[in-house]
């Protein structure tokens, strides 16, 4: 019974240090008692250090300046990360879980400010791996200028999870006058992409058990809010922004066509792609249009704004390979089509089944 553990004398919060080198997560780390408090104090609080987290509430109280009058707009987004493997060329589940949610907030034209983190960890998970992931999250958050203000840790028995799953929620604010939304694409809009497609998916696949192949491709995992801020400053009337993650460019274009009621035509030759990604996709029988990206965005704007937007994108390190890849048309069928490199025409449908499970 716990009561038999009565301390003698002045209470020392933790009898022993957390063994971050050789220790493993056990069920007590999710039980709400001393072991969990120690994990939070010795690992999370140190890595994510900020005044909001230091309040040590279950809930964080955060300032939110939404403009004069207090009636401004807040943007919130949530995303779960179940990627396998947890560590991959160019990133890990920690940095990915920050970038992915920062990007979802940024795609509304918002400035990301705060993140919350929910971890579901499998019993037996190495504390050294957890430390690496947490430090990677902290570095990604710091570099993106967001504070991790609240969190939660649950532990499930061995065999009931898969290492670690991370769910992040992002909160940000949108400047007045910015209205970026998947349903705002219009016939005549130009479609731009910020860089090459397929890097993330191929990098992750290259480390999958049973699939390992040689490649220098790194995941493109990155926080895009800085690029978005530059873009919005140059062209405040951007109609749509979207990051082509799960389901790739094909899924995102279909979502936008459906939401906006337009047709879309893209040109295969115009879509940036690394030679190694093209090769890996051919080898594995994958269509790169459906492969996930984690540091790219697609933008829709008026045709007349396209060149200006492209110039701004190319001036940013995360947009230097940006390209205009197509345009919207008036099409009641809402088809997404591609002019192929060989001069043909192909319908780009949504993915019906699944191509790459657990890519993010």
């Amino acid at each position: 019974m716990p009561a038999s553990n009565a301390p003698s004398g002045r209470r020392q919060p933790y009898a022993r240090g957390l063994d971050l080198k050789n220790g493993r997560i056990d069920l007590s780390h999710g039980a709400g008692g001393r072991a969990m408090a120690q994990l939070i104090d010795d690992l999370f609080a140190v890595a994510f250090d900020n005044p909001y987290l230091a309040q040590q509430h279950d809930a964080a109280c955060i300032p939110m300046d939404v403009g004069q009058g207090g009636g401004g707009r807040v943007v919130v987004s949530t995303d779960g990360f179940v990627i396998s493997p947890l560590f991959f060329p160019g990133g890990d589940i920690g940095s990915l879980s920050v970038h992915g949610t920062v990007n979802d907030v940024a795609m509304a034209g918002a400035r990301p400010l705060y993140l919350t983190v929910g971890m579901i960890i499998e019993e037996g998970f190495p504390l050294a791996d957890l430390k690496a992931i947490v430090q990677s999250m902290a570095a990604a958050a710091s570099s993106a200028g967001v504070s991790i203000v609240a969190g939660d840790t649950k532990v499930v028995e061995r065999g009931k999870g898969d290492g670690i799953f991370i769910t992040t929620t992002g909160i940000g604010t949108v400047p007045d006058g910015v209205d970026i939304s998947a349903n705002r694409a219009c016939p005549g809009d130009a479609i731009l992409i910020s860089g090459s497609i397929g890097d993330h998916g191929v990098a992750v696949l290259s480390k999958r058990e049973g699939l390992a192949f040689e490649t220098d491709i790194l995941s493109d995992s990155a926080a895009l809010h800085g690029l978005v801020a530059d873009m919005v400053a140059a062209v405040p009337d951007i109609h749509v922004l979207r990051d082509p993650t799960r389901g790739g460019l094909a899924a995102v274009l279909n979502e936008i066509a459906m939401a906006s009621g337009v047709g879309i035509t893209i040109r295969e030759k115009a879509i940036p792609m690394a030679t190694a990604v093209r090769g890996a996709c051919e080898l594995l029988g994958l269509d790169p249009l459906y492969v996930a990206n984690e540091g790219k965005l697609v933008a829709f704007c008026k045709g007349e704004d396209a060149d200006r937007l492209l110039t701004v994108m190319r001036a940013h390190p995360l947009g230097r390979d940006a390209a205009i890849i197509g345009e919207c048309s008036d099409d009641p069928h809402r088809f997404v089509q591609m002019e192929t490199a060989f001069g043909g025409n192909r319908i780009i449908d949504w993915l019906a089944g699944e191509q790459l499970p657990r890519i993010c």
Copy 2:
């Protein structure tokens, strides 16, 4: 290849309806393509229907009135739910995931407004169970007056999860002048609890495989924001509020003693407990002080405010069994002690190991 699925004629978004009766989750439901969109449209969007979710962004744009000047305070909290079994007497993982996070926000004295939901579902999970859980979430959110404004669904392979895990994030606003925090307990403060302890943990345990026993005990899972609003209106200077979930009353009292630098003494006789809960705990060798609750709160206030606060709590349906259970003292050791029913004195330490895994 997906491209071979080109539709003919005007696009129908989904070829077949979702089989919510006999269907099962497969990996395609998390792949970002057509199956995932169908799951979102046919199940989540219908159940959680609200104008923010209907924006169909990855991020929801939500109004947030933080008072004149826009410098007000927003409260955010996140919680993962991995409870086993998923359905238990008095609730399920869906209602629990709403109540738990609504309560974390409410414990800052805030009014909960919005929730986001991240689901991690195991391949093979019955769609009928998912529908029941989603409808339970929707009902709990509606009854708590919160909108579910953004969500995410991931699917992991069979054997890499355990049915469904749900992470919710809650956002609310705090009225000016309210400052409720775990570090505000003072010597002389009275400690109140809103009702009986141990109901949730015992109700869940009664359905565990290998542990099943007869009991009429229901989980106390409930949203406490209404009770909190009444309490704050009557006694704006409440010092601390906390819901004793994982780790039970013992963990919460120790956290508060540690954060505020006070000693705490509670009286065993004063703590409300159902006879059946007491019996089940004796049978299972559990200490009810460490058993999770999901619809109770602990409040700390000045001694002179205690009777007024108690009266208001008892006037609310979720506080009708409220009681004053102890007080804070000046104690550099920050001990939590209990005067036992037999006249003895016992140190109530934190739980060192774990008593009840996956109770929430």
